[in-house]
Amino acid sequence: MSLLKVTNLVVSYGGIEALKGISFEVEQGQIVTLIGANGAGKSTTLRTISGLVAPRDGRIYFEGRDITDYNTQKIVETGIAMVPEGRRVFPNLTVLENLRIGAYLRKDKEVIEEDINYVYDLFPRLKERSWQLAGTLSGGEQQMLAVGRAVMTRPKLIMMDEPSLGLAPLVVKDIFRIIQTLKGTGMTVLLIEQNANAALHACDYAYVMETGRITMTGTGDELLASEAIQEAYLGKQADKPARS
């Protein structure tokens, strides 16, 4: 049984269908990525899974349970955490306070302290800056904090929306290393990326989205080898010139 199963999801914003019936699955312990251009509906998918947007049709199952009608709070409690697009750390709270907000719904006080240390082990930079306001961190550090904050909810599935957006190439490398580390600790990752190359190299399985539909699926290596993908997303020219 897959950890997350989305069937025939339809979402519309004021008459415009952002998702036109997509279905996909995320297997336990894997990194699964959704790639696609702007406006393909990737972010909408994540926002719908985390309960911030209500779908018009379709069901979402997590560990076999139907969570479509859960509110965000309940979804976080069931074990789905989100790293929102553009990091969105709380700028006027300290790094430590940001992490504690991640654990807001948890009652297990002692374990929370352990988990804070665990996050600090994952990201020693955050430990150094524990008393600094999150707004004063660099982009990469903020991204680490956003991931750390999500880890603090003790998720089974962690969903990341464009974690590499607006970061320097070296930092992007760091971020993808972190994603692998998370996988190493048994977490499942659902990753959304425009940086198709990096995402396909990192993932176990990938779905390609175009204007609200899933147009192609396969393992990362399969898609990397596919000509259509190379042409559309990796900027390599096949026999036709790349899209302008």
Binding site: S50, L52, N71, T72, Q73, I75, V76, E77, M82, P84, R88, V89, F90, P91, N92, L93, L96, E97, R100, I101, G102, Y104, L105, N117, Y120, K127, S130, W131, R149, T153
Partner: protein, 369 residues
Amino acid sequence: MKTTKSKAPMIVTIVVIAAIYAAVFIAEQILPPTSMLFTVLKKGATYALVAVSMNLLNGFTGIFSLGQAGFMLIGAYVYGIFTIPLEARPQVYQYFDGGLVQFTVPLVIAMIFSGLAAAFFAFLIGLPVLRLKSDYLAIATLGFAEIIRAIFQWNGLGPVTNGSNMLRSFPTFNDFNITDGQGNVTVYLSTLVPFIMSGVCILLIVLLIHSSYGRALKAIRDDEVAAEAMGINLAHHKRLAFCVSSFFAGVGGAMLAMYQTTVQAKSFTSAMTYEILLIVVIGGIGSVTGSVLSSFLFVACSEWWLRFLDEKQMIGDFEVPLLRNGFRLVVFSLIIMIVVLFFRRGIMGDRELWDLKFSGKERKRRAKE
């Protein structure tokens, strides 16, 4: 690892606060009770509580509400209605046959009622209004305050609210003084007691801000969407902050009633809300100590220090120009403009008194790096 934040600033703060309370107590015994100082301290303590309660909403939760005067009005009326002595009621409610409410409750209970009544109204109003954002919320709450003011002046409610007539004869700050048999005051407490009332309430607000609830409120202020994605229930937390803030505004209203010795709905205008808002902005949005400091400064400037500007002043034979009735307000407005220009984030920014030393250290540490 446990990063230890030095406890020293906190201890210093506690000592300073204790010293202030002691100074207030001693000053009250020594100085004549008619001194302007006590007017300023009493009104300042009242405004400090209301300003902090407003800061809880505007500064810590990011809800821009302008309903403060309305909640103060509710608090002041509830306090008056439940504490006017039975023998005074026939005079106070002379047009309404002595009024409908024919019992009194102890003062502290009446103050808690004041808060609860304000919080109850806040809950009801919050249901529709808290769905609005920023400016729209401000307009809606401002409108609510005006409606409340009109309702409390309505003659139909006269048996309870005394219509547009004032409530009076209820216990005031001066009744806290301890007197001997002949009515001579032995121990003056009329300034210390409001300080204690306001201090306890502000302490409760500070504790709330530093709890995990408070952290969630700050998260909502910083980024609503991210806070929601972390599983924070936005509607629930906003409603909680709104009700708690209104509770303390209601208690502040009860204190204002005690300070003014009379209550009349028409004095709770939106101008009062703006005064409080001004205090919050000058003190620093998101700083409790800033709000407290600036409310005393504000009251002192408007009631005391600038009074001389309203009268003719002579230096020898020379009459100082410009000084005349109303000039005080011109200077006062200028001071506010200067403060806003040079302390753009208020006197304290979003820091607290006990952060000052800490941030000084931090700055040095960062400079070394």
